[in-house]
Subunit: 495 residues, 2 copies
Amino acid sequence: MTHYDKLETHFRKLSRLAHLDAICGWDQAAMMPKGGNQARGEAMAELAVLMHELATAPQLGEWFASAAGEPLSADQQTSLRAMERRWRQATVLPARLVEAKSLAASKCEHAWREQRKNNDWQGFAPNLREVVSLAREEAAVRAESSGLSTYDALLDLYEPGMICAQLDLLFQQVKTWLPDMIRAVEEKQGSRTYLTPEGPFPVERQKQLGLEAMKLLGFDFDHGRLDVSSHPFCGGVPTDVRITTRYDEADFMTALLGVIHETGHARYEQNLPVQWAGLPVGEARSMGVHESQSLFFEMQLARSGEFTQQLAPLAARILGREDDPAFSVDNIASFNTRMKRGYIRVDADEVTYPAHVILRYEIERALIQGDIEVSDIPELWDQKMQSYLGLSTKDNYRNGCMQDIHWTGGAFGYFPSYTLGAMYAAQLFATAERSINGLRDKIQRGDLSELFAWLKTNIWQKASTLSTDELIRAATGKALNPAYFQRHLAARYLA
Amino acid sequence: MTHYDKLETHFRKLSRLAHLDAICGWDQAAMMPKGGNQARGEAMAELAVLMHELATAPQLGEWFASAAGEPLSADQQTSLRAMERRWRQATVLPARLVEAKSLAASKCEHAWREQRKNNDWQGFAPNLREVVSLAREEAAVRAESSGLSTYDALLDLYEPGMICAQLDLLFQQVKTWLPDMIRAVEEKQGSRTYLTPEGPFPVERQKQLGLEAMKLLGFDFDHGRLDVSSHPFCGGVPTDVRITTRYDEADFMTALLGVIHETGHARYEQNLPVQWAGLPVGEARSMGVHESQSLFFEMQLARSGEFTQQLAPLAARILGREDDPAFSVDNIASFNTRMKRGYIRVDADEVTYPAHVILRYEIERALIQGDIEVSDIPELWDQKMQSYLGLSTKDNYRNGCMQDIHWTGGAFGYFPSYTLGAMYAAQLFATAERSINGLRDKIQRGDLSELFAWLKTNIWQKASTLSTDELIRAATGKALNPAYFQRHLAARYLA
């Protein structure tokens, strides 16, 4: 057995443990009664230890060194690099730092649940300071090992290959047109009226509607399920993808669009290449590319006027609202493209969303680089909210810098993925439209087969065999260009 | 850390992996879409390897030797014995035999699914011969290590402490009265009429009924769930017990009594002592004692005239049959105590069931001891069916010796647990009745708190701190005596 083969065997073993972790994690969120939590937590922590032992097994260093000298195919070389990258990420942090991070994050997050309700910045700040201090330490260690700058080294965990220098360019471009666009859309929509579909919408009907939408969008029910959890997610494993949603009887659209969003993630997972199953090179490319698929489904497709021709009648039929004017195609299309400035990122529409992300990116990068301190956050937040969205968050920590869970958990470098995903999605859709004859007509008729075949060939089956930049270039012929996203928004919101 | 403490830590770690195995196994049966099976099987096999490595870790021998000399409390000594027993069972078989057994069982079982349908004894026999040959080898190894006889060494896996010599006495006693009792019940019921509740009974209603019955029977929904699987079972872990059933719209009673049966298993698991959680001494005593709890719930309690006063109106209300004469208390009581000789063990009523078990016991013991060969089974089966139940299975392998899955999987020594469970249950109920004032009146009123408190104290909280014999003596003041079971049947079916 070559050292490369030994590495493959080792990483496939690790992925089988990750399978158990994914299913038990899904169960914990979607099925487990509350009294089961402590023992489950202990069982999953035990598994995490075993996985960490495998991921950092002492023989791996030697195997990687030997494998590098073995005659490998180009594919194997790519796979080897993906394994080595995973291994370096797992081994580079000293155990002491991993443990300190985990403790600080869990302390900060636990307290934050109450502190946020009480708008208690004074209580929250010291905990966050500890998290930031450890994140800086992590960034320094990762920077040292990778040769990247500190923030880039964190960014690389979520969006490998992306660096600040490029992000700055991208986001600077967005900032040149976004505030004006928000004002213009606001003005245009000011005179527009729409009806809000009025509940109650029974959960069973909503579930059926979600399942029908998933069917229309090609979700493979032999390899996945839809369930309920308090925070919707896409989990499980590629052969068995578990997506979740939550239902509100007063509002069916949020759950429906959520299901469609998760279906985008799910189809990516379900269509990863079988020959690389269980190996890092066979996994989804990055958080940003993953988000591009969910946003492709939710934003590019589901909220489009064309797809609404399918979605509105489907919803009307299953919810028994065929005579309800709020369910007309035009009204649903207006309803699903309404824009509103707001404090809360997760509630934001696709036009204002990038403003939230850019704000977080600018602050977290400065934090990690040591240019600002935790105590500077509220003022900066308020300043940037005023500048990008014209809203003040002064003294409103709860709906300002205390709204997200990312920083409390130490996930610095994650936020940019959301907007990168939206940009990739717009560029991919524009390319698909050029490649597929009469795509918009086909969408309108619910004939999505060519579109999905295009995504499968260009994104899903590529897994991590290409870098993100190579992937986007191969699929679209160009590097990432935010002009596609701008054109998408202008066409949908200002035309 | 003492060696005893090291052993506790080691076995608790093993139980945390068993937790993951239990949840992923439940998911596989109750939730997993069919396309997920192969990867799941591989992930669970990986876990099985890790669990086996832990269970047979080389340092354990030395730790057990050292712990024996440490100053331990009486409880710790009991716990140590339970761990050592588990360790010996795991280590005694050579790896080659474990693997050969697993391959033979899976080959036999896989082919059996088709062969049974086709009544194909000729195809089945060679596979079974291989399974039996390996079971004999296993029995010899276990006998050598334990000092028990070969069959006793297998019996000991499921019902520790039980031996053929005692089983023979018990079953001989049953055989002296059972055939006469079956004839007498048949005669008595010949003149009786009852109505069969006629469906359809919608699945949602049946589910609600099952949940209500579980509530009445004290199932703790903070630590467990009810779901659907094609073969009902009780799985999960004590802090999170997963029971399953399957629904037939034409027949609600089978699912309902099945749910009640599994609720008996579940309450035992949910009420095991917390201080021993994760250690062998804290687990349920044996298969027989486990079955005694499910049969206590299903047979002693749920099919009794007294409990039917609760169950029949509950079913009528939830199924919307309050005016249906088939749902009267008297009719449901008759319906749930109908006796019918039949070929199939799993469909048998509580009167004829022991005949099925004794038949299997006598044949499997002779097989393991080498007194007969696989080719002798059909004739012996026919002979014994004629003798115990007056039915011929000549050339009817499908409904004769090919009906069960136990032997195909190599589980020799398991069958007696079913009838031991029925006997324990009858003796426990008779004792509870003597201990609790007006128990039958209380059951009739649905006041089950004292009964459950009695079971909790005498069985559930005892876990494996006592041997089965000690447990039954402590709870009932006497060794197991099949006369209780006989009296129970006579009172219910012949009074």
